[in-house]
Symmetry: C2
Subunit: 397 residues, 2 copies
């Protein structure tokens, strides 16, 4: 089987910042593309959280394996350099505020005029069309705008954000997906494309369950905490264990019978309160109490093991320590311990775009700010070392 380097030969300028753009660039790099990360001479915000000589864990997770150059796109000379660089690349990734590069005369139209094969891939909070196109969006405000907060948390509490940065990462992977679609299309047409990925668009589909219930009833139900969004499936909840919590869900009758067997209460399956799905839903409180009376006597690992043996869909609620040490993720090659300068021994992840029977490329250390500037400018633009020094002295790189 072919080794998983599907994008070998593709060259990318990655202007990504924080999570959205950089995750896209990370997926490109791990798929075999040559990714040249472009930062301002001060370094990307996320690099050292203020200190360009150090590296933050989030920066290390998303920028390994990229060549790092600097470019001051606010300077005319920097803009000229970019115009020359885009002649040599296939893809430009950016998640600046809407229209930032266009203001400097280096927007998608300007650059595509120079290189019609260029795939200009932009992601913003709200996209480049529609009345909100100029608005700034960050993960927390997009969680508000997209309806996620309205369906997360408990009904007697405030709307709640999902703890994780799902809008940023959904944006980043859609951006990658758009690029690979455009690369495939370019093989047929010879032409590049301009991508316009809105984080808000990317998040909307995740509401599917809630929208089903909303359109069926004509209104929004209560926030249901850890229970199923429409309160129409049970068991479906998080239960206390002796040392934490476990999540469990029964979809089919068989799952319920399996759970009763796992709890060593096979007769419970036929209990008139719980004998069919509609009854379990109706008697959800009693059902959850019955299950928790069992789970709270056992450790979560024990419950997970017994549940899996009996074909019950279950998982322990893992904390971050559990997750970074997850034996399955390490065995599968999804996580790796990695020595990164200024961070020490830390955990990095490999691309989720995995090919069967082939190891993903191992995580790589992050390059220093501008570490590849001289090399890249020499290779693409034939600039000499003194030329590069002058650019550096002028603050252009």
């Amino acid at each position: 089987m072919a080794v998983a380097q599907p994008l070998a030969g593709v060259t990318v300028l990655d202007f990504g910042q924080v999570y959205n753009g950089p995750y896209c660039g990370f997926l490109l790099a791990q798929a075999g593309a040559r990714v040249i990360k472009v930062e301002s001479p001060k370094g990307e915000t996320l690099r050292g959280r203020g200190d360009p000589n150090s590296v933050s864990q989030p920066f290390a997770m998303l920028n390994g394996g990229k060549e790092c150059i600097t470019l001051n796109i606010k300077s005319e000379q920097g803009q000229q350099l970019l115009k020359q660089l885009v002649m040599h690349v296939d893809v430009l990734v950016e998640n600046f505020s809407p229209g930032t590069l266009a203001e400097y005369g280096i927007g998608s139209e300007d650059l595509r005029a120079l290189n019609p094969r260029l795939i200009y891939a932009a992601s913003t909070g709200y996209g480049s069309s529609g009345p909100h196109r100029d608005y700034l969006g960050m993960d927390i405000t997009l969680q508000a705008m997209s309806g996620i907060m309205s369906v997360t948390g408990v009904d007697d509490g405030p709307p709640m954000k999902a703890g994780v940065a799902l809008c940023d990462f959904l944006g980043g992977v859609h951006l990658y997906a758009g690029i690979t679609s455009a690369l495939y299309q370019r093989e047929q047409t010879g032409l590049g494309a301009v991508l316009d990925i809105s984080m808000q668009d990317c998040v909307f589909p995740t509401l599917t369950t809630q929208l089903g219930a909303f359109f069926a009833s004509g209104k929004q139900g209560p926030r249901t905490g850890n229970r199923q969004a429409g309160l129409s499936t049970a068991p479906y909840n998080v239960y206390r264990a002796r040392d934490g919590h476990v999540a469990m869900i029964c979809i089919r009758e068989g799952h319920w019978r399996n759970l009763c067997a796992a709890m060593q209460q096979p007769d419970l399956a036929a209990d008139p309160r719980f004998a069919k799905a509609s009854l379990r839903t109706k008697n959800m409180d009693e059902l959850d109490a019955t299950i928790e009376a069992w789970t709270c006597q056992h450790d979560k690992a024990e419950i997970f093991a017994v549940a899996q043996r009996h074909g019950v869909i279950c998982a322990p609620v893992q904390d971050l320590h559990d997750v970074v040490n997850d034996q399955h993720l390490h065995a599968r090659g999804s996580l790796h311990w990695h020595e990164q300068e200024s961070l020490g021994n830390t955990v990095l992840f490999s691309t989720p775009l995995r090919f069967k029977d082939s190891e993903p490329p191992p995580p790589q250390s992050v390059a220093g700010l501008g570490a590849h500037s001289a090399e890249v400018l020499a290779e693409f633009l034939n600039l000499s070392a003194p030329d590069v020094d002058k650019l550096r002295a002028a603050g252009t790189i």
Copy 2:
């Protein structure tokens, strides 16, 4: 500019179920691929929630524009038909339990032996390698296993799931991204691939902020509700408005000054409690109270408008009614009112994989169960109408 049908000419068999696989198939269909959805003769679980003659809203959202055929893959004749069908397609998508098709002798190895150009794209909870490879995973248990629950909600409450099905949709879009990567690679090598997308892998990166704080301090901090995960940025919260809530975040000093101007309290910017980022973080409670004293006097739409005018990153907490009527999403062509038989007038979404200056294909109605069986079997396998009737009578389709 080229119209956004990057996958024109690509043919897909979509065995997707519920959200993960079907969302992948939806993205493929909207990108111009011919997607043939394959269901058991009883119909996919999600189709009518038990009634194959009706259509649920979630099913309509994810399966429009697909041709629909039926196939009983548990029958030997059904397996034979599949082996013939894969000779005519580029991609097979499935998110069955691990190893389901292989058990029937129609797994990735079997099918790729017949068609080496086939891209066999599977997504499971935990992937096809590692000690958890055979475990069943659903969105709720993956949220538990992946650490999402441990960082969502408030510290004096239980671990909490994100309300939305982010694991399923992150899985689905990564699956699509793997397919387009493999399609591009196939243009170079002539060979297909076997994709092994684990939802757990896809979710891990969303923890980046928390992992940064975890590795910096060596331990997991408290759950922070709507505040920033590491409690290191303020303002960053959800605030009560007169008629709901708004989310706001200030990243740079300028954002904070802008917010003070928006609140018509420009002097607050220099208030010694809040004069720089570290002080605002230290005095977070007072700061949030000060902001809420303003927000609670205004409607959320009013706050949003004022904030945007002043360059403050803000959004109203929209509920589902707000979201499905969001004027921006409709103006941009991301959402559409659509008349779907058995559902009436409802809202469907277009692909988030948008190309600038080009409209995405409009949403399409969902086809009936097996509506295209006869056509597809005639076209690909030259079966006559009586042949198809026999297959139907035998329960093979």
